[in-house]
Amino acid sequence: MRIATFICSAAAALVIAGAAFAADGNTITIGMTVSQTGPLNVDSVAQMRGVEMWRDEVNAAGGIKAGDKRYMVRLVSYDDQSQGGRVQQLYTRLIVEDKANFLFGPYSSGLTGTAAVISEQYGKIMMVVGGAEPKTYELGNKYLFQVITSADHYLTGAIDALHSKNPHARVAFVYSDDPFSKAVVLAARGEAKESGFDIVLDESYPPSTTDFSPIINKIISAKADALLGGGHYPDGATLARQLYDQKADLKWATILVAPGDQEFASLGQAALGITVPSQWEPQAVYKPDFGLTGAEFSKAFQAKFDLSADYHSASGYTGGAILQHAIEKAGSIEPEKVAAALNGMDVTTFFGRVKFATDAKHHGLQIAHEMVLAQWQTKGGKLQREIVWPLAAKTADLLYPLH
């Protein structure tokens, strides 16, 4: 009996030891979770597509060059079901069992915050491509790198643009009760007051809300003429649709995230005139220091997935491109060297400029990337997004009032 137990334990030990050597010497493993199910699904999958496109491109070119070695990219991902608890378990699994060399963040600030705790615990570099809340970077970290503009800048452009049309707007802040939206509105509130706007309503709603008629009635009662708010895709899209049905008669509506998605076009007339702060639009004309141009990215994405690229896919792809650039510059895949390369980076890709904060109080926060304001307009009978702000980047004039 004892011999049997001994043999079993020895066998188990060998299997475990074997697994430690399972990773191929010339492959790097990148781990991330995707919300294949749950309310964050739409945007998370879009983000994932960007990452997958980068991976396929890199592998087709022979892998990432680090020093005199070439590393193929192996992407391991799991479904986090849009839940923080799953993120916690899965990132631990990605690091401990799948031996991920690098990590990409999940989609949404809430989930990114959870993943960051795990990635920092294990000292793994995490490229944050879908989490805008700045607080995550203020908790003391060494290996987080945010590729997208942080939440506190989301509505700056919208407020400036609104001010140019209506300096005394009556603004209603109606936003989802989640870390991202709250961070956005926290900063926007101050900016709105400074711009001379009158904040006539300021309310959050549970993220799972589907019946906005009570809050829309409140918007009407408050005689608001501008709306700033929303959350992620499901609630943002629903809010937009019901604003239209209930004839809320707003002259301006900026909704977060949802109108940035191609699927928003399915709202038809309800989408017209809605503005969205966007991390990137296909018409943006940044001149990249390396890699694809915006037009090349859009075309390749369309060809690969038969879908239009949006800023979620672009940010996913850019996370990969930036990590690749850092590895190539460092000439190694060692976390410390790659982190040093990332910390010293100040580059422009098709996505825009990327530079990370390096002070201990905000390490990893994105400090150079800028957002644009896009608006749904009809062009030749078709609904599409145009860049309307900043004026230097615009592709169409701002439509005001929206109806």
Binding site: T37, V42, E203, D211, I215, N217, S221, P234
Partner: protein, 286 residues
């Protein structure tokens, strides 16, 4: 003042549809003492039925109501025979587990087929304007159709033989058996009817709000609250309970931040249960 009235009226309109959903639960609960946890799945089935019939087959939106009602009925009867028949009369936990498992299977199937993305059936109806407020035409029509369905149900239960048979079985199954009512058939019919009501309410909710495969849970919860408010086994009570819930929502929201609505709703719900443990419109069972 207008804003308050508008909020209350809109609350009542939407509350009526919740009442319709609750009628399905209360019927099943009242007739066979089964807590039907497939209720949420049947509501979602109604929503997806609406989506499929209107986008895939191009049927006009409101014409889908009767087919969905019918399909819901047959699905309910089918569900009765696989999940409920064997656990009637057994401890309540059995039927709870049984229907819960079926619910998981149905939702799992739905998620596998359609994922969890948001679906939207675009329905545009001219609304009714009152000052600066608009009552969406969809809310009004949904409330009217709910009233029609509720009236039909009432007529069915009180003026037809089968309806009376259902009420007899609900009242006392053994006695009904003794007077020659085929109680098993009646039970399966009642379950089918409950599921049909759930699907119909799902279809109507689908015309009002976007939905996902997972939307059933919220409305199932609301149905249980409404059922408890209105009293078990009473379809009129369920409708009244729904309207009461809508009234509470409409009255409360103009004055408090929207995120407090649920809290206040539940507090009032608990208070009502303390005052009226069997629900406000409960009927006494012999």
């Amino acid at each position: 003042m207008l804003g308050f009235a508008a909020s209350v009226i809109d609350g009542v309109l939407v509350g009526a549809v919740y009442g319709l959903a609750a009628m399905g639960i209360t019927l099943i609960w009242g007739v066979m003492d089964v807590v039907n946890l497939t209720h949420g799945a049947m509501i979602v089935a109604g929503m997806f039925g609406l989506y499929l019939l209107t986008t895939a087959l191009g049927i006009p939106v409101y014409a889908a109501l009767l087919p969905i009602f019918a399909i819901g009925f047959f699905a309910g009867v089918f569900l009765y025979w696989i999940a409920v028949h064997r656990v009637i009369g057994r401890p309540p936990l059995m039927s709870l587990l049984s229907t819960f498992s079926v619910n998981l299977v149905l939702i799992g199937l739905g998620t596998a087929l359609w994922g969890t993305r948001l679906f939207n059936v675009a329905v545009s109806l001219p609304g009714l304007s009152w000052g600066r407020y608009t009552f969406p035409g969809t809310h009004i029509l949904a409330a009217i159709l709910t009233a029609a369905l509720a009236a039909s149900l009432y007529f069915f239960l009180y003026s037809t033989r089968i309806g009376k048979a259902i009420r007899a079985v609900a009242n006392n199954r053994e006695a009904a058996e003794l007077v020659g009512i085929p109680t098993t058939r009646v039970l399966s019919l009642s379950f089918g009817l409950g599921a049909a009501l759930a699907s119909a309410s799902g279809m109507l909710i689908g015309t009002l709000f976007p939905f996902t495969v997972l939307s059933g849970d919220t409305y199932q919860l609301k149905s249980f609250i409404v059922t408890a408010l209105g009293g078990l086994g009473s379809p009129t009570g369920a409708l009244m309970g729904g309207i009461a819930l809508g009234l509470i929502e409409g009255t409360v929201t103009p004055f408090v931040p929207v995120s407090w609505t649920l809290v206040i709703e539940f507090v009032l719900f608990v208070l009502v249960l303390i005052a009226f443990p069997s629900g406000i419109f409960a009927r006494r069972r012999t």
